[in-house]
């Protein structure tokens, strides 16, 4: 591992020009690295074709250079350390210091040349998911080309024939390498910047890991029982918010490289899917949604006009995916009287606290000692109490007067008076209750009109 992510420090700078890279790859573009786990807002392109860069949530975009009209990138596959959340670090494999890897951004019609250096202990390859390219550039080790041996650098070169939302990931020992965190976004912007323009363009990849609390490396053999549900290898409460200026047109691009589907649900809005990894969706084919199910190995981009101010949750609707590490073999203790048991257990384990007897919310409130390198399964504090969330969860923060390039957290939304739920302290209104399992037909008599 040649770079270490630091817990402290704000928006980290891209560490360009590693000395070794300069001498070893004199003809190659410099391999840029980053060690910051925070969202890095990319600059506008200085060369090549004009485009509106995406904001990679808790990520960054890979620098490039123009070389005789070809856009050159340098990806380095290597072991990395990723801070998934404050107090939880994972030893993964990634690209250029991070997992997920940096976002590659280019423009439709450009020719790209991507150098891929393998610093992993085993061979790898890169498959450019969703792109139309020559068969020999498709990056399936053994099929498209020989796999890239450790220490070797391969070059991929192709024209970007279509714009849209794509990914890159290994196609050599794929199961292990993806379970270890190797993946990144590949965004091809339309040649015409006026084609479906948006003010804010967010992008992230869904990745799942099985990292036992107290350990650091994912169990790559796991197939279903994952416990770290991440966006760009980060978990709530440390996934950055999606900060939006009121009135912005917003696009959210999301790719799924986990082993299950994810119904991504955003509060406060309905929206339309405008792009998949197959391409842009014509207006006539879109329908409104408040959740989009993102299948395994697919990408979706949806758009909305940010007209409703507030703090709006955005999360996977599989409720276990908004939990961090938790046991799945726990009995349900709801309603269990643990007073006697507590006394009995404390004779042997004085630190024992009864939990779960009223649900699991006490987990979010109590801060008890946990194993090393893990964070509570439900966590995060809002302005009014514990959020009791984890994993695939963030907040879309729509505010008035946010500057175009400002993505910094504006803090919690203050609800205008009269627009927030409150406690009722008056007389209890009458309420109905159903007890029987039989279908109950509501009498229609009161709906009858006199004619």
């Amino acid at each position: 591992m040649n770079r270490r992510q630091l817990l402290t420090g704000g928006a980290g700078a891209v560490l360009a020009s590693a000395a070794a890279a300069e001498t070893r790859f004199r003809d190659l573009p410099e391999a840029a690295f980053t060690d910051s786990p925070y969202t890095q807002v990319p600059d506008r392109p200085m060369a090549g074709l004009e485009y509106n860069p995406v904001v990679t949530l808790n990520g960054w975009s890979l620098p490039w250079r123009m070389n005789a009209g070809v856009k050159e990138f340098h990806l380095v596959a290597e072991p990395v350390e990723r801070i998934m959340a404050d107090g939880m670090m994972a030893r993964l494999w990634g690209y250029n210091g991070q997992s997920t890897g940096p976002t590659i951004e280019a423009v439709e019609g450009e020719r790209v040349r991507i150098y891929v250096t393998n610093r992993l202990p085993e061979h790898t390859s890169v498959h450019w998911h969703g792109l139309i390219l020559p068969s020999g550039m498709d990056g399936v080790g053994g099929l498209s080309h020989p796999a890239i041996a450790p220490g070797k650098t391969f070059v991929y070169e192709f024209d970007l024939t279509k714009s849209g939302t794509f990914m890159y990931h290994p196609h050599a020992d794929e199961m292990v390498q993806m379970a270890m965190g190797m993946m990144g976004l590949f965004i091809v912007h339309p040649r015409d910047p006026a084609f479906m323009p948006v003010d804010r363009d967010f992008a992230f990849l869904l990745a799942a890991y099985d990292i036992d609390p107290g350990t650091y490396i994912p169990r790559v053999a796991e197939m279903t029982n994952f416990n770290m549900w991440t966006w760009n290898s980060r978990i709530f409460p440390d996934i950055d918010p999606l900060v939006v200026n009121k009135g912005d047109r917003v696009r959210v691009r999301c790719g799924n490289l986990t082993m299950t589907n994810h119904p991504i649900h955003m509060h406060g809005y309905d929206f339309e899917v405008t792009c998949t990894d197959g391409g842009w969706v014509p207006k006539s084919a879109r329908w409104p949604e408040v959740s989009i199910d993102i299948p395994v190995g697919a990408m979706r981009a949806y758009e909305f006009d940010a007209i409703h101010e507030g703090d709006w949750a955005i999360h996977c609707h599989k409720s276990h995916h908004t939990m961090n590490a938790m046991g799945h073999d726990l009995p349900t203790f709801i309603g269990t009287d643990k007073r006697r048991v507590t006394q009995m257990i404390r004779r042997q384990q004085p630190g024992y606290m009864p939990m779960g007897t009223a649900g699991m919310a006490d987990m979010g409130e109590m801060s008890m000692e946990l194993p090393d390198n893990t964070i509570p399964m439900m966590t995060g504090w809002g302005p009014y109490g514990p959020l009791e969330m984890g994993g695939m969860f963030s907040v879309v923060k729509v505010r008035e007067g946010i500057a175009p390039d400002d993505y910094s957290d504006p803090g919690w939304y203050v609800n205008p008076p009269g627009t927030q739920a409150y406690e009722w302290t008056g007389d209890m209104p009458e309420f109905a209750r159903a007890n029987g399992p039989a279908t109950q037909v509501t009498p229609k008599s009161h709906l009858k009109h006199d004619h």
Binding site: P213, G214, A325, M326, G327, D329, L330, P331, T332, F333, I334, G335, T336, D337, K338, R340, V341, M344, I345, R347, Q348, Q349, G351, Y352, M353, P354, M355, G356, M360, M363, M366, M368, E369, L370, P371, T374, P376, M377
Partner: protein, 465 residues
């Protein structure tokens, strides 16, 4: 010389043949016990007491009562009480007393029943019998010195046996004390394990009540508790029986049984057992070796006596008393491992009878094997002390800390809702099992330690493990 004259002359001789110093020694009511007392103090640290009168017995019992009544008895007290109050050892001391009376008897010299002889003088036919009596008396007189020496050897043997019995009783008692305490320790630990099982059982019942656990899983938790309860009852019984054995060895009954033993054995000593000198000490001190050695001596003396008697009876009695031939005594040292043990090799020459030579040879071989065994037992006992110490320390310093870490981590996992209460309880139970094994290893050490103390003075009662 006529037989009659010989007889009269002999009578004069007989009157002066008592060995007064031996008589004084042997006639002491506590003859030879000083040796036992001294040996007991050195070997067991406790004082041997020989109660000969009912008053002494009563006084002993009163002292014992003061030592144990309502008290928690330590190993030293237990041994002390056993030496004072165990009637088997008092019987052994009485054996010593009997041996002293034998010596006394011999030392007094022949006491011919002259009144019989004299009454028959002048009557024909009685002269021969008188002669026989007198001859016998003269024979006795002539051999009195070797007979006294033999009696002294037997007496020394009896002293050694009394000491051996004392050492054995002390060893048995110390062992019984360790067994009893260890059994109570185990019983209380199983009790704690049962406490955790009951917690799981209680939790299962509660989950059954709320509808979160089916009957089969509830029964699984309950059956474990139920089985453990049986184990606990067994452990309690074992502790009770172990204590009863100690009570028996301490000679207690009735209200005397109203005493306690500690709940747990002392912790391991901080230091590893020192290098062994047990082999050397055993060869110096072992009572069984000393007894066998004395046996050899006694056999030699016996046969020298027999030879002499035979020779005397066939010799002309008027020549008087041919007393003792000097021994041709040879010894051979066999230094092995810098520790030597001498087996006296008497010249078999004087042992004219084949029977004598064979008996001597048998005793000599028995002694030699006993010495070999003693050396091996001493080495084994030391190896056992070192080994059990290392094992017990390993449990205490390696296994238990890991178990405690598991307990700490189990609690953290439970805190994080990564594992359930049942797993937490199970880890706690595993931790208790490790504590149980640690306690057992500690008990094994204390048993070995006790054996090492014993093996220097005599064989371990019940044999070495």
């Amino acid at each position: 010389m006529s037989a009659r004259l010989l007889g009269l002359a002999s009578l004069v001789l007989l009157a002066a043949c008592t060995d007064q110093t031996v008589v004084d020694r042997a006639s002491d009511p506590r003859a030879g016990f000083g040796f036992v007392e001294d040996g007991a103090k050195r070997s067991t640290g406790a004082s041997a007491a020989w109660a000969q009168t009912s008053a002494e017995v009563a006084a002993n019992e009163a002292r014992v009562r003061a030592l144990v009544a309502g008290k928690t008895v330590g190993p030293e007290t237990a041994v002390q009480v056993a030496l004072m109050n165990n009637r088997r050892i008092q019987a052994a001391y009485a054996e010593l007393g009997l041996s002293a009376t034998d010596l006394w008897d011999v030392a007094l010299g022949p006491r011919p029943r002259l009144e019989i002889g004299i009454s028959g003088i002048g009557e024909a036919g009685l002269a021969r019998s008188l002669e026989a009596v007198v001859t016998g008396a003269i024979l006795d007189l002539a051999t009195q010195k070797p007979r006294t020496k033999l009696a002294e050897t037997r007496f020394r043997q009896a002293q050694m046996m009394a000491l051996a019995d004392t050492v054995a009783l002390a060893a048995e008692t110390r062992r019984a004390w360790i067994d009893a305490v260890a059994a109570f320790e185990v019983s209380s630990m199983i009790g704690r394990a049962q406490g955790t099982a009951e917690a799981a059982s209680e939790l299962a019942a509660e989950l059954g009540r709320t509808g979160a656990m089916n009957r089969a899983d509830q029964a699984r938790e309950h059956v474990f508790t139920a089985e453990l309860a049986a184990e606990r009852t067994e452990a309690r019984l074992a502790a009770q029986l172990a204590k009863e054995k100690l009570t028996r060895l301490m000679g207690l009954y009735g209200t005397g049984t109203d005493y306690y033993v500690p709940d747990s054995l002392p912790s391991l000593p901080g230091r590893r057992p020192a290098p062994s000198n047990a082999e050397r000490l055993a060869l110096e001190h072992r009572t069984d070796l000393a007894i066998a050695k004395l046996e050899l001596e006694a056999i030699a003396q016996q046969y020298r006596l027999d030879t002499q008697t035979r020779r005397l009876s066939s010799a002309d009695l008027s020549v008087g008393v041919e007393i003792e031939r000097s021994d041709a005594r040879e010894t051979e040292a066999s230094p092995v491992l810098a520790v030597g043990f001498e087996i006296p090799l008497y010249d078999a020459g004087p042992l004219t009878s084949r029977r004598g030579a064979l008996e001597y040879s048998r005793a000599a071989h028995t002694l030699a094997q006993r010495a070999v065994n003693a050396r091996s037992e001493a080495r084994s006992a030391h190896a056992a002390v070192t080994g059990t110490y290392n094992i017990a320390r390993h449990w205490r310093d390696e296994v238990l800390p890991l178990r405690r870490e598991i307990d700490r981590e189990a609690l953290k996992s439970y805190n994080g809702m990564l594992t359930s209460t049942f797993e937490l309880i199970e880890d706690a139970r595993d931790g208790l099992e490790a504590e149980l094994e640690t306690a057992k290893a500690k008990a094994a050490y204390w048993r070995a330690e006790s054996d090492l103390k014993t093996v220097i003075w005599g064989p371990i009662p019940g044999g070495a493990e």
